[in-house]
């Protein structure tokens, strides 16, 4: 299980056998992240999209 930190909200994110460019959603703040670097069980993320807020209405 690899680990990284969400750049948006600082939450710790665990991810199984991560692949670069893979899209992951941060459970704490909901932002979509892209795996930018995989180094053993260390992962780095970048914010994947900047789509406006969806208030569901």
């Amino acid at each position: 299980m690899a680990k990284g930190v969400c750049p948006e909200c600082g939450a710790e994110i665990e991810i199984e056998d991560p692949v670069e460019k893979e899209i992951v959603e941060c459970e704490e703040c909901g932002v979509e992240l892209e795996v930018s670097k995989v180094d053993g069980d260390e992962v780095e993320f970048e914010v994947a999209e900047s789509e406006g807020e969806d208030w569901g209405e």
Binding site: G10, C29, G56
Partner: protein, 349 residues
């Protein structure tokens, strides 16, 4: 097994406490009182507990109370202060859900409530909000659990008052609260045609809970904290959402605000941060905590007016009432603090 007594068990709070304690592995409900319903089965008043318990209501008398190890007082303020001295002197632990021992200063109590007949116990009592007073609760024999509106506002504001990033002269707490908070006694305003479909401001200034809110926030910040607090009755049975409007004393980032909450509530089992950038459930809403002991806290930074918005949602009968009482019992008796309080709530409801 800890033998528990519930004094005043026919109200909504007494009912919640009974439900929770009946499923608490370390506690046995030895005694539950109700003046009007003495002799009747508890299910006469609490229908959801049929076939769950055969307990009957009894009259209150202090000698019968001595069969217990701990008693919960779910009686109105003033009725509590009449009983506490005798209960404590007979070696019982008392967890009081009334307002009678929440305030440290007698004159503040008497300003909001009535003359206090047992002021000597005010200093001994510990304010039963575990997130702020866990260490003191471990050794306390008299625990005074917070008011429901106070819990939601104190829990929302505490991290920011402590971090010192908000102007403590311009704090607004605008709360929205469900109908069960008025308790089980009814009047014309709780009559359904009057109570449904409303947004009704009530006690818009000087609400009693203000005293304990300012007491606890003052202790945290080390200086006087004043809050402009206004509750509104809305069309909901259970639940409180407090929207707390504050003004920032310096620029902060979202990450910093989130870390301030995380840091303050590190390892707290019943505090959840809810602030999502998308999806249906982005900010706290009482609907997401109904039936649970969680307090959901969210925030938003409004740079337009340099405002920090804090949202705090609880179920007023649980995290606003019976929850901290059971947490306090668990802490006092060194049980795992979440024992009996794991239920995650009902959604939707």
């Amino acid at each position: 097994m800890v033998k528990a007594g519930i004094i005043g068990g026919s109200g909504y709070t007494g009912g919640e406490l009974l439900r929770i304690l009946l499923f608490h592995p370390e506690v046995e409900v030895e005694y539950i009182t109700s003046r009007q319903n003495a002799g009747k089965p508890v299910t006469f008043i609490h229908p959801h507990l049929r076939e769950v318990t055969k307990l009957k209501f009894e009259e209150y008398n202090s000698s019968r109370a001595r069969d217990c190890d701990v008693v919960f007082l779910c009686v109105p303020h003033k009725a509590s202060m009449d009983k506490v001295p005798e209960l404590l002197s007979s070696g019982l632990k008392v967890i009081d859900l009334s307002a009678d021992f929440r305030l440290r200063k007698r004159e503040v109590y008497e300003q909001y409530y009535c003359p206090h007949t047992a002021p000597e116990y005010l200093e001994k009592a510990v304010y039963g909000l575990p997130e702020l007073h866990r260490e003191e609760i471990k050794k306390a024999d008299l625990i005074a659990c917070p008011g429901c509106l106070s819990s939601s506002i104190i829990l929302g504001l505490a991290p920011f008052v402590k971090a010192g990033i908000i102007d403590t002269e311009h704090i607004i707490a605008d709360s929205k609260i469900g109908s069960d908070a008025a308790g089980a006694s009814f009047n014309f305003m709780t009559h359904h045609p009057e109570r449904a479909n409303v947004v009704r401001p009530y006690q818009v200034v000087g609400h009693r809970h203000l005293a304990e809110i300012e007491q606890e926030l003052g202790l945290l910040s080390g200086k006087e904290v004043k809050v402009g607090f206004t509750p509104h009755a809305v069309d909901m049975v259970r639940g409180i959402l407090s929207t707390i409007h504050t003004f920032l004393t310096r620029n902060v980032s979202e990450l910093e605000v989130r870390n301030i909450i995380r840091e303050f509530y590190k390892d707290e089992p019943f505090i959840r941060i809810l602030k999502m950038s998308k999806g249906y459930y982005q900010l706290p809403n009482p609907k997401y905590v109904i039936g649970s002991n969680y307090c959901d806290i969210g925030f938003e930074i409004d740079s337009h007016v340099n405002r920090l918005l804090v949202f705090s949602a609880i179920d007023n009968l649980i995290k606003g009432s019976a929850g901290p009482a059971v947490q306090s019992l668990n802490i006092r008796y060194n049980f795992k603090e979440t024992t009996g309080l794991e239920f995650p709530g009902l959604y939707p409801a």
